[in-house]
């Protein structure tokens, strides 16, 4: 591919010289099938030193599979991987590391009971095995130096399980960057990050790139792709469709390549009739740190909760849902005071919650799509003490179709689905319960453009039926376009309330930052 180098010698064009350079990593005709799914078919792709290559594709397009293949976690069925022109075999993750290939996987792979410093340097702790104790100090020194270089300030002695998802994500990134790698693979590293953490990550990625490292960056957020990458490679149905220099393409073109058709509107907003109050929250406080929160959500209304990570958005949802203990205030549902003490009680009242952390709080990993989908609403199918298999299967198939969950195989293990499709299963779980009030915490995290539009369409259908909806999202453009009203949270309190007409990105950001 030849880059038309007619623009002024901008930063990007300067780096255009890498166009001619030999690729550091090359995939030739890589294929990989799982039982029944061709996850990768005949993918050829080259990755050059000192560039950020964006990898784009719908949920299930094969991006993570490609990354795992390069990480030594999957063996390709056929094809060759060339490193600096030499074919290499990656039998396990250690092989990949030895060849200088470092990875941040989509699903975090930390050791929860070890502290941050130990996770940074996992498997590469200083000192010898039998001399660990005396080397503790060196471990913390090295870990400290490491994160300082990256401009981070994580609590080194805290165990990882006590960190927020965003912090865990950062730990994983630091670990990947700490390896003296020549190829860095980042599979949706930003899906849990706040804006400021994202800045840190971007600066860091640009710095390693300028040091000659080849970076592969996966994200469903096109704004990030256009900010960070030098070239974009688009995948669809396991195939590599095209690779384009980022400067020469547009988001419309990229979406068309990804989806194979035009998507008219990213966030279609359907107008619904706004009715009586469904949820009234008055002076609510909880053990998890929200204080004196009051707001109302009406039938047919979508209220967006904005704020920085840790500002109390999730905690409001959990307090209403009975997952955190309320310490003051009251909650009214359809005018009646309610006080659910557990999620089970909240569900019985007609409240649903799509939780923030899909892996830890949503998915039941050993079960199938069907079993995950019907988990919260299983009661519906019980006849004479037993689950009516026919009822359950029919309903599952209907929901799979409704949300276009792929692959449409009810008995498939949930863990074999791509992230976006797993998310759709969790949403389907709550649609099945037909709630009065549905709270969606980061519902489109890791979800591709098409599926995102679909999730918005589903939310639109819900409110059209008179359901009250609360959406929590870190993606401001999304929140601005779906919400009828936005509450901005700061430090556990409602800092501002903005109507649909008045809300702008700047206003929300200002209110959130205080």
């Amino acid at each position: 591919m030849v880059m038309k180098d007619n623009a002024a010698p901008s930063d990007r064009a300067m780096r255009g010289r890498t166009e001619g350079e030999a690729p550091i990593l090359e995939l030739v005709g890589i294929s990989k099938a799982f039982a029944g799914t061709q996850a990768l078919s005949d993918v050829s792709l080259s990755i050059r030193p000192a560039e950020v290559l964006g990898l784009l594709g719908e949920n299930g397009a094969g991006k993570s599979t490609l990354v795992k293949t390069l990480a030594g976690a999957h063996r390709p069925d056929s094809g060759t991987i060339l490193l600096n022109g030499e074919p290499i075999e990656l039998h396990n993750p250690r092989d990949a590391l030895r060849h200088g290939i470092s990875v941040v996987h989509q699903e975090l792979k930390l050791v929860p009971d070890l502290d941050v410093a130990a996770n940074f340097l996992l498997g590469r702790e200083p000192g010898r095995v039998f001399n660990q104790m005396s080397d503790r100090r060196r471990l913390y020194e090295e870990a400290g130096a490491l994160q300082q270089r990256l401009g981070l300030d994580l609590p080194l002695t805290t165990s990882v399980s006590a960190l927020s998802v965003a912090q865990q994500q950062l730990v994983e990134i630091v670990r990947a960057l700490s390896i003296d790698a020549s190829v860095l693979l980042l599979d949706e590293p930003t899906s849990a990050l706040s804006d400021s953490d994202m800045e840190t990550l971007f600066t860091t990625v640009k710095r390693v790139r300028d040091n000659g490292v080849a970076v592969v960056f996966i994200s469903h957020r096109l704004d990030e792709i256009f900010e960070l990458t030098d070239r974009v490679a688009v995948m669809r149905d396991g195939r590599h469709i095209r690779t384009l220099p980022t400067a020469e393409t547009t988001s419309e073109e990229v979406i068309r390549l990804m989806v194979g058709r035009e998507i008219v509107e990213l966030f279609p907003k359907t107008e619904a009739k706004i009715g009586e109050p469904v949820l009234e929250v008055r002076g609510l406080s909880s053990t998890a740190g929200i204080e004196d929160v009051s707001f109302t959500v009406h039938a047919g209304e979508i209220v967006g909760l904005a704020g920085l990570v840790g500002s109390g958005r999730t905690e409001i949802a959990r307090a209403i849902f009975g997952a955190d203990k309320r310490t003051a205030g009251e909650v009214l549902l359809d005018g009646e005071p309610v006080a659910p003490r557990t999620p089970a009680e909240a569900i019985a009242l007609g409240i649903g919650l799509v939780p923030e952390n899909r892996k830890a709080q949503g998915l039941v990993h050993d079960l199938s799509i069907r079993e995950n989908l019907t988990l919260a609403g299983l009661r519906k199918f019980v006849r004479g003490g037993l689950i009516s298999q026919r009822g359950e299967r029919t309903e599952t198939r209907r929901r799979i179709e409704e949300l276009d969950i792929r692959p449409a195989e009810p008995e498939r293990g949930i863990d074999t689905l791509s992230g976006g499709n797993q998310q759709k299963v969790i949403i389907a779980r709550w649609l099945l319960c037909e709630p009065r009030l549905l709270i969606l915490d980061e519902p489109t995290k890791g979800v591709d453009v098409g599926a995102k539009a679909e999730i918005h369409r589903i939310i639109g259908q819900l409110v059209a039926r008179g359901v009250a909806v609360i959406v929590i999202s870190s993606e401001l453009p999304e929140l601005l376009s779906v919400s009828d009203r936005i509450l901005v949270m700061r430090a556990g309190r409602v800092a501002a309330e903005l109507g649909r007409e008045d809300a702008t990105q700047e206003l929300v950001m200002t209110a959130a930052a205080g």
Binding site: A35, G36, T37, Q38, F321, A323, T342, P343, A344, A346, I347, A348, L353, P355, A360, Q361, G362, L363, V364, H365, D366, L367, E371, L375, A376, L378, R379, V382, G385, L386, I387, Q389, P407, E409, E411, R412, R429
Partner: protein, 317 residues
């Protein structure tokens, strides 16, 4: 995209069939090498022994699918037998109800401590094992009760045609727990709980109650096994059932239930129990010193778990 319905060759079914195949091969070898093995007398004997462990193992399966563990079942076998024997003068129904109820209370305490006080199941049930063993000795004053009323031997010693009530009870328990696990809402709850407790709770499952109930089921079934055992040996002994907890766990693990929960079947457990029974019986018939039984059992457990881990890594797929 091709179909991926669980085929005959999927790892799970393969493992189940592998177990059956191994069991079949064992049976054939033993039938050929010892003429006394494949006689109806010996097979029924073997099944009688398997019945007691099998009933305990069905309860253990329930607990282990939910991600738990129950070491107290062996002691509960003895407790229930002793309680029933002592309460016998009050009449059969009352005495049996008292024995099973005593067992269920043990389960309730186990479950309560594990789910409410969040003490580790290993610690709770290990402690409970010694407490209950001690209690059985206290209430029986350290002696076995021999002069049992005639109804006592009903489950253990009387037959329907050639088959004892003990074997029939085992079949009923196995079918009952299978249906519960596979077709009831509570059963689904147990699998979900063993796989991801937090997600289950957020999906509206009363995880504490579900867990507690699992321990109650396990203990009550152990109590029921105590009744069968006492009938079989015409003796209610406070030291009966020693080591049954480990044998039951062995049967469950060999049967493919995942340590840590979330996956497992009663069918697997039944095959696991049969396998242990056939091996024990075969070793005796072959004249191998009984001391070898433990060695063989342990090796099989390790092999079964190793096989499961190998398949999970995708090596067998």
């Amino acid at each position: 995209m091709g179909p991926t319905r669980p085929s005959f060759l999927s790892p799970r079914t393969l493992q189940r069939h592998a177990l059956l195949i191994v069991l079949g091969i064992l049976t054939v070898i033993l039938s050929l090498s010892t003429p006394s093995f494949f006689t109806s007398q010996n097979i029924l004997n073997l099944l009688d022994q398997v019945a007691v462990i099998g009933v305990v193992a069905c309860g253990m399966t329930v607990v282990m699918i939910a991600g738990g563990f129950d070491l107290s079942v062996g002691a509960v076998v003895a407790l229930s037998a002793v309680v029933i024997a002592i309460a016998a003068p009050a009449g059969g129904v009352v005495a049996i109800a008292a024995g099973i109820a005593a067992a269920a209370v043990v389960g309730l305490v186990n479950g309560g401590l594990i789910s409410k006080a969040r003490v580790n199941p290993f610690v709770v049930t290990l402690g409970m094992m010694t407490i209950i063993r001690g209690l059985s000795l206290v209430i029986s004053d350290g002696h076995s009760v021999y002069d049992l009323p005639s109804w006592f031997g009903f489950l253990g010693a009387s037959d329907v045609g050639p088959v004892s009530w003990g074997i029939i009870s085992f079949v009923v328990v196995a079918v009952g727990t299978h249906v519960m696990l596979r077709h009831s809402r509570y059963g689904r709850t147990l699998y979900a709980l063993g796989s991801n407790e937090e997600a289950s709770w957020l999906a509206g499952i009363n995880t504490g109650r579900a867990k507690t109930l699992a321990y109650v089921i396990s203990a009550a079934l152990a109590g029921f096994a105590g009744l069968i055992l006492a009938g079989q040996i015409s003796e209610a002994s406070p030291i009966a059932g020693q080591g049954y907890e480990l044998q039951a766990i062995a049967a469950v693990i060999i049967g493919g239930t995942r340590l840590g929960g979330g996956a497992g079947t009663i069918i697997g457990t039944v095959i696991g129990a049969l396998m242990l029974g056939v091996i024990d019986n075969g070793l005796v018939l072959l004249g191998v010193a009984p001391y070898w039984q433990g060695v063989v059992q342990g090796s099989i457990i390790i092999a079964a778990v190793g096989l499961a881990a190998y398949e999970k890594r995708g090596g067998g797929a």
